[in-house]
Symmetry: C2
Subunit: 267 residues, 2 copies
């Protein structure tokens, strides 16, 4: 059983089917609920979005990775094609509804074509599609599958501001998968504040060993402005001696090192 952001037709469902085509799905209202379902052991895995190629990080997911003991056991990359979907025609549309990420990804399209429409956030793109099926005034920005699921017409297709649009999902679960030869490891580090060069030293442990960082992202610690955690993804598996050696050295240099997991890379 896999916990995902619902309802049916969501991009998370696409991600889940890409990762495991046969598993049963549990549709959750929001990312927090999908994580809670895993923590309460009501599902075996949860799949949640972590970054989008246009909009950047899904910050709630990053924050939940810091707050809870979660293990990343996989990743899935899904191509996002947004459709404008409604029961009504273009002239009927008074409200455009989607997940905030969907709205951001189509900001220019909305401004150009629906300048006067009210723009309203929903908890997921597929929920927006479901709500759009209840009124001709509403158009949803969501996947083609959502439109089919809720009987909506296609008013426009591929409406994202930039055509290449991908979302990376992480699979969270319990057990670290064995090395496959093409793996990634995700960590969070907290440097001491106000020590110039601290991040430089940490990155040096990886650069000196030729370890490739695929991502580095800062998030506020939520204590004071200017105090950050760094989320780092790197190529390699924690069972590789070079990776574990680098992480041991990093640990001695930082105030906190949290290892989120090692898992097969999607690309």
């Amino acid at each position: 059983m896999i916990g995902i952001l619902g309802p049916e037709g969501s991009y998370s469902e696409k991600a889940a089917k890409q990762w495991n085509g046969t598993a049963e799905l549990r549709y959750c209202d929001d990312i927090m609920e999908a994580v809670d379902a895993l923590l309460r052991e009501e599902v075996d895995y949860s799949i949640v979005p972590v970054e989008n190629s246009l909009e950047g990080s899904i910050t709630l997911t990053l924050d939940l990775l810091m707050e809870h003991q979660l293990k990343i056991v996989g990743e899935v990359i899904v191509q996002i094609n947004h459709y404008l979907l409604s029961k009504g025609s273009g002239r009927d549309i008074k409200i455009i509804m989607s997940h905030p990420q969907g709205l951001s990804q189509c900001r220019k399209f909305i401004k150009k074509n629906f300048k006067d429409a009210e723009v309203r956030s929903a908890l997921s793109t597929s929920l927006a599609a479901k709500l759009a099926s209840e009124s001709k005034d509403i158009a949803a920005i969501a996947s083609r599958e959502s439109g089919q699921r809720y009987g909506l017409g296609v008013l426009a297709e591929n409406i994202q501001d930039i055509n290449e649009n991908y979302t990376r999902f992480i699979v969270i679960g319990k057990n670290t998968p064995h090395p496959t030869g093409n793996d990634k490891t995700s960590i969070i580090v907290y440097l001491q504040k106000n020590r110039p060069g601290a991040l430089y030293e940490v990155l040096g442990e990886f650069a000196g060993r030729g370890i490739d960082l695929t991502r580095i992202e800062s998030r506020p610690t939520k204590k004071v402005l200017g105090d950050y955690l760094f989320y780092i993804d790197l190529r390699g598996h924690i069972e590789d001696k070079m990776i574990s050696g680098a992480l041991d050295r990093v640990k001695s240099r930082v105030a906190m090192l949290k290892i989120l997991g090692s898992y097969p890379a999607a690309g």
Copy 2:
């Protein structure tokens, strides 16, 4: 004349008054409009939010700094105290409305106290307050000043999930201010993709000179997943020889260096 996110009572208005108590203000509908007003020379400065201590970056602002020729000439830090404001009483509330950042900053409060309310995004906290003045069903999450401006009662105060909540605003304008001895410089760098250690080398130029980085933030280039720009703030003024020397060396190491400006540090 300063362009800010309106309407009256917004946190941006607080920032503008903190920066210059007497300047005339122009209230804009959204961040993009505040930037446009400056580009069209309809205002002398615009003040826009760039990061919050709980929620992190205002990504639209970061993206606009990359897209347009804008000069950062100042920064302002404003303490954020969110209030739950309405014409109705707690039991009347069916809709909770705020800017998405305000909603995120009060996520736990909403989940605990208004589990069944519809949560709706508005373009600004003060616009949410204005809309709340039109219906007893709606409560806004906004500043105390917004509530006073639109005649709303206070249902709860200091409702953000973590009490220490600050937003950093940047002032964008035309001319780089002279060094004050306590300045910051903001830059964007684009490294070549897939060259391990490239970020390490860039940070080395600063670390080797003892230059303090106050912030480092990655944003997607919007081309492919895993391709990032880095936004870096550092202590010092571009007219300092050490800073300009470091930036010259950085420029020779990266695919793109954009200098956003040097300006007096707020703290």
